[in-house]
Every structure is written in C-alpha cells, then in structure tokens.
Point group: C2
C-alpha cells in the first residue's frame, strides 16, 4: 500500500505531506537530541484513524512516533528517518467527567490545564501538574508518566491513570485498565503503558482518577545563602515528619532569569529559595506550616516567612513555574532530571556545584526538592562547540553521581533519547533483557518509536 492509498483511506486533511508543515513536528524540547525527517505527519481525530495509520505502518515497515504538544524534554517525540509522526493534539474532547465515580475520560490531546479547569468547575481535582501544564497534553503526560509540583504528597501521573485505550503494535484498538475503584483482572497493562513513551502502544483515550477539589494551601518561603544549606533543609523537612503539599527549590540564576523577564524583584533577597506548601486542613495544618518555617530557620535559612498573603504566595510559585522558560530565553538549556533519595539531596547538590566548576559549565538549579527530583539546567550556547562538549560531559557526570548516590537517571521526564545511555548504566543487564522481551512481545514488528528508551543491543 502506498502513502496515497493511506491518504485515501483517511478523511481529507489528516495526512500531512507538506514539508513546511511537517517541519513543525520534527522534535520535542530536548536540547541536543537528534531527529530526522519523517515521511509524513498524521493529525487524527479518532482512534480508528490512528489504527488505520498504524496498520499501514505495520504493512509497510514504517516507524511510528506519537506526540502531543511536543513539550517533552528527552527527545521521546523526536522524528525518526522516514517515520510517520502521529500528532494527537487535535483529539481534544473531554468525553466525560463523573463526580460520583471521580473519574474523567479524555482524548489524548486534551491540555493538562484544560482538564484541571474543567474538573475544578465540578469541585474535582486532577493533581498531576507538570510545569508544562498550560501546553502539554494528557496523552503526553501519560506516555512519559509526568510528575510536577504536587507529587510529593499526591503522586505522579501513573497514580491517576485508571485505564487507557491504545492502538497496539499489532494494530489492534484495545482498552486496558478499568473504570472501577479497584480491579485485579489480569496484568496491569494500563500501568505498563504509562511511561512507555510510545514504544508499546499509541494512547488514544485516557481514563483518569480524580480527587475532590484541593484545600487551601499555606505557603512557607525560606531564603538560603547556599544551595547545599537549602538541600539540608529539604532533608530536615523529611526528618520532621511533615508532608508538605509542595517543596520546591529555585536558585539565584533562575531567580535572576525570571526577574530579567518579568521584573518580579525576587533575586534581591535570596541566593536559593525554598518554597513549601501545606494543605492539611485546620489547626493541624497551621501548626505544620509554622513547624515548616521553624525547620527552614533551624536548617540555616537567612529568612523564612509563613506567607499569609495569597497574591504574594502565588507570585513565588509563579516564579518557580516560570524558571524554566525564563532560562530558555537566555539560550539553549539542557535539562537534567535525576531523582535521588532525600538523604542524598544535599550531597547531590554539592556534587552538581563541583561538576559545574570542574566542567566550566553554567548550571542553574530548579528542583522538586521534596521528592529528591532535581533539574540542573545546563547552559551552553549553540555556537560554542567546546562549551557544548563540556556541558555534555557535565550531563554525564551528573547522571553518574546520581546513580552513585542511589538515585535514578530520570525522575519524571522519561528516557527518550537523552537518557538511553543512563538507562543502560542504571539497569542490570538481565532487567534490560526483560525490557527487550516485553518490547518484542507487544511490538513484534518493531514499529513503535523504535530505538528509543530501550538501547539497541
């Protein structure tokens, strides 16, 4: 079957062959991950259209790369040579929000914030809140098992996925998982799809679990004069037994970048900012917020404040959210995504400082610090090959340090292309073998995002 045959079997306009339009779908936001020219781009409106395309790809031996908004940071959505890129951002229907069963059924192209807003109107909450939530899609969030600020207390995307509809590697359109609160009927194949980055199936619908609207949060900000001291405060929070609803870190370089963009005046007061939130209701929550402030102080904060001003508190968190795009404005940013045990956070932050010095690379830091999930941001201009080589070496050093400290090479961004070497270092060869076996079992024609996540043997 030729591409023209495929085009005829789909509604008009779905298959895109215009090179200028195709050029929009070449890669995600991962710096330095390679990408190639696809054969065509499909923008489907239904699961059946995805199925038609996947079957065509099986028949013709064409690789399939699925993507949503393309906000990924590991190259998972980068186009492969002569592949079919399936862009799911046109499937944006929220099919159902059911307050009684506390679930929502959505098409994969629904933007995270759009789902959250729709839930909120019904007194419900979809917690996963990656920094990309204004743009990234639920399908992409599921494919990468996206995290965010809420994870510390409320878990990651996987914790909210009840079921998925997928087009499989054999071209079947199936539903995995369930709509009930509990269920153990067979293997957890829905869970297996979560975080598999398009290598085991193309997600065409997602059923997510919801919570009741969240309770008001109190914000506690701590200003520290070194990143390692801030790291010790993170460890001290964990030791205190408090479970904050957020515990984020933003360093001076990020604060300066935000100020340069939005003129918020944040960088005046702090070298490193720790932002904690507490949503435990009532007096117990008030007490926890005060304890959190004391923990910051006792761990060496120059200044810690329990914010009673919601506008001010929101501004601090807005700065956290803007940190990454603010840094990107200043030049290409290679984003790390390691996750280490909480006890290792101070050490890991110290190691990052030493690596930056040793590799003569500018490294800024934002972090979901309470999870031990650090995002060192490596900065190197496009036109400076030596600087890029040093940054690449620093990237590898950081991965090695994280593994040495008992951590993982990716906390929430996924393996994609950037972390394949890291994955091979992290996993036992026998565990890698299990990955190959599962991949072969569910994608026997090896057409689903081949060569990503699991390193070629």
């Amino acid at each position: 079957m030729s591409l023209a045959d495929l085009e005829k079997s789909l509604p008009p306009g779905r298959l895109i062959l215009d090179p200028d339009v195709i050029a929009k779908y070449l890669h995600d936001e991962a710096e330095w991950a390679p990408f190639e020219r696809p054969l065509a781009v499909l923008r489907p409106r239904t699961a059946e259209e995805v199925q038609i395309a996947v079957r065509w790809c099986i028949d013709t031996g064409t690789a399939v790369v699925a993507r949503g908004a393309g906000t990924g940071l590991s190259g998972g959505a980068n186009a492969l040579r002569d592949c079919m890129v399936i862009v799911l951002d046109g499937m944006t229907t929220i099919r159902e929000i059911d307050p009684l069963e506390r679930l929502a059924v959505v098409e994969p192209g629904v933007v995270n914030d759009d789902l959250r807003r729709a839930c909120e109107e019904l007194g419900l909450w979809y917690p996963p809140d990656p920094a990309s939530s204004p743009w990234s899609t639920i399908g992409g969030n599921v494919a990468t098992n996206a995290g965010g600020v809420c994870c510390l207390k409320y878990g990651v995307t996987r914790d909210y996925v009840l079921g998925v509809q997928v087009v499989t590697g054999t071209g079947d359109l199936v539903r995995l998982g369930r709509r009930t609160a509990k269920g153990v009927a067979g293997y957890d194949l829905a869970g297996l799809m979560v975080g598999s980055e398009g290598t085991l199936g193309i997600i065409t619908e997602v059923t997510v679990r919801l919570r009741p609207s969240r309770l008001p949060e109190r914000t506690v900000a701590g200003y520290f004069d070194s990143i390692v001291t801030a790291g010790r405060a993170v460890e001290a929070v964990a030791a205190s037994g408090i479970t904050p609803s957020a515990l984020e870190l933003v360093d001076k370089q990020c604060l300066l970048a935000v100020d340069a963009w939005k003129n918020m005046g944040l960088s005046v007061d702090a070298d490193v900012l720790l932002l904690g939130r507490v949503d435990t209701p009532g007096a117990i929550g008030d007490d926890e917020a005060h304890r959190l402030q004391r923990v910051f102080e006792e761990a060496g904060a120059n200044w810690a404040v329990h914010s009673t001003d919601q506008t001010e508190a929101d501004a601090l968190f807005a700065a956290r959210r803007l940190a990454y795009p603010a840094m990107e404005r200043l030049g290409p940013v290679l984003t790390e995504d390691i996750c280490v045990p909480i006890r290792a956070v101070p050490q890991m932050l110290a190691r990052i400082e030493r690596i930056a010095a040793h590799r003569e690379t500018t490294i800024a830091n934002i972090a979901h610090a309470g999870d031990g999930n650090l995002h060192p941001l490596l900065i190197a201009p496009h036109d400076d090959n030596a600087a890029r080589a040093r940054a690449q070496a620093a990237f590898t050093d950081i991965i090695d340090a994280a593994l040495e400290l008992g951590g993982t090479v990716t906390g929430e961004h996924g393996v994609g292309l950037l972390k394949m070497d890291g994955l091979a270092k992290e996993l036992d060869p026998a565990v890698l073998d299990m990955h190959y076996s599962v991949k072969r079992a569910l994608d026997p024609h090896n057409i689903l995002n081949p060569g990503k996540v699991v390193p070629a043997r």
Copy 2:
C-alpha cells in the same frame, strides 16, 4: 539433574519431600478450586535458594507455584501436578524501615500486621490492610495486589510498592523499581509484577512506600433494613463529596455468624450495617463525620450514630473483620470479589438478592462498599452436590451481572483459578493476546504458575 542433586545444592532441610508435610501446602483458602500433588516443597531462606530451585525447574521442565501464608481466595497458590511449591513464609526479616525516605524493605514472608506494627513504632504507616492481615504475607499481598478497608482513601498494595526483587522465568535474580520517590527509568516492570500471581516472577524482596502514622478516625455506623437501601446510602456518600477513610458493609447473616462465635450482640439492631470512618483532621473532619451520619439518615437508615466511644467503634470494625472467618465456621464459603462502579452498587446488591433467590443459594454479604468492591459469600455444604451446583451457577451469574453493570470480575482477590472464565469474559480477545505475549516474554519456559490467571488457549 535429579531432585537429589537439587537437595544437595541447598542447605539441609530446605527441600521437603515428606508427604505429610507436603500435604500442608496443597492449596490456598479458595473453596472448590482444584489442586494436585506437588513433587516437592521448598522453604527457602534466601533469594539465592529460590534462584537455585527455579533454575532446576527450568532445566527439568518443572512448574513452580509460589505461596506465602496460603490465605489467597482464588486458588492462585494451589499446587499443580508434580510442581515445586516454593513457600516463602520462612523469609520473615524486615530488613529496613527508613523514616526519612518513608520506605521499608522486607522479605516476602513478613506478615502484613507485623510490618504494620513495626512501622507504627516508628511513627509510620503501611496502609494496605486486607482482612487477612494477621496472617497473610507481604509477598502474597504483592502477588495478588491485595486491597482492604483502607483502599477507599489510601489505595491498594500496588500504590505502595516501590520495588521488588524477583527470580525471573529465565532464572535471573533481579531488582525492579526503585527506592527514590519518583522514577521513570524504563518500563514499570515492578508494577507489572504486582498482581501477577506468581506467573511472571517469584518475589524475594519488596520495597514499600510508607505514610506517616494515621490520624485518629471517627466512626459512623448506620443500620439499614435492606441491603439495597444500604447500597443507596453508599452511592449517596459518593455523591456527597466526602471521602471516608473506610466505608464497609456487613449484612445480617454475617452479623449473626459473628454473634454466634463471639457473642457481640450486633445482630439485634441491624439487618444491614454500614460502617464509615473519617480521618480528616480537626473541625473539618468533625463536620464530615456529622455529614456522613446525615447522609446515612437521609438515605433511609433506621438509625445512624456518630460513635465517640473508641472501644465501641473498634468492636464494630472487629465484627467486620471477623465476618469472613465467622461465616467459614458455619461451612464452606465460596467468596466472590466483584467490583462495580459506585453508581451500580444498589443495583448490584439487588441483583445478588435475586440471584440468591433464583439459584436457591444462601448468599451473605460483606463489602468494601465505598469502593464498589462486593464480597458475596456463597454457602453450600460439602456433601450436597446439588446445592454446590446451584452455588456455582450463582457464582457465574454474579460475575455476569457485574460485567453487565460495567464492573470487573475481581476487585482484590485475583484471578487464580476461580476467575479464569470470568477474565476471558471481561477482556477483549486482543487484550488476552497481549497477556499471552507478556507471559511468554517473561516466562519463556512456561514454568511460573502455568495455567493460572491467563486461560489456556
């Protein structure tokens, strides 16, 4: 390699060939599930001993059935003809409880309540609380993805498993998952092991996530004169937006059985008892408990009481926990384990009543009602073949009704042997194919609990 060779490669006493001892390990607590005579029983003390045995089984084509305390209710641990039963109840070391990282590392034979007690001493909480918690092991809980009373608010075993060590179908000893709060390095193979009932690997160690000690709970009891009215109250609780920390149902037959055993005097007041708990702290929680009581009353409770007496509240929950063993004292109990949408709970309970009448079978009911997870208990004496045939027909009717109402054939007990027909009804043939593919991929010699969970083709 002969069995004698295997015996020599293991420490003395590990391999059991004495038929009288072997007889203790023939089956779990599932009524009516078939079992056969094993070749031998292994009671290992280390993961390496499990590995030696599994490798021997691969070499000799011997099936492996893993089990913990044998409290399963689906026949998943039932011996197969000439198999090797690996009993993990001798591996009872709690290796580590880490309050800062909020995790524990345990051997698979650790009894659920023992882990919970050890955690409690450190101000921590391991939530999954199947009714079998005084006897069942963490390994078994993980293999079946056990639920319990806490699930409604705090989730099931899967939600607490960070990592597992397993002996694989290829005889490798590997660690899957992680110790960090987050991580997306590769496929969720640890999650895939959870609930796979010994068909994809033998669990030799488990790393679980912990929570801080739970907050005090308020208990609200509602007495209803029909099970369908109680079911409507369950639906009304969900509609109210309250998230109870427990919402359990016990019917008159169970209350009578508990009274006959423990003389608690519970059956005097109620035909059907709904037991709710609320652990939201402070005034908000007090308000929720009062609202819960009002919801019970408005839904038609004869009497609803917000218990302030902890002893009385504990007694009510003890009755819930004793209901199953109390019924068992009266004769063989075939336990159902369907889970339906909350909205379908009243209908499902009505269907169970009709099925009991139609099939002339005594069916008592306990339920994790707030999850829609119902446990109709089918009673039929061993020596009455006609009654057993009717009960078997009722069992199938209940499964069919649950599927018709959008439910699943097993909420928390697993597929084992009893729900294999149900699984084949529930899953799409293409999804069953995915199960076969995954099973073949990870158990290429087909030695891990073969013929269980996934129906033979």
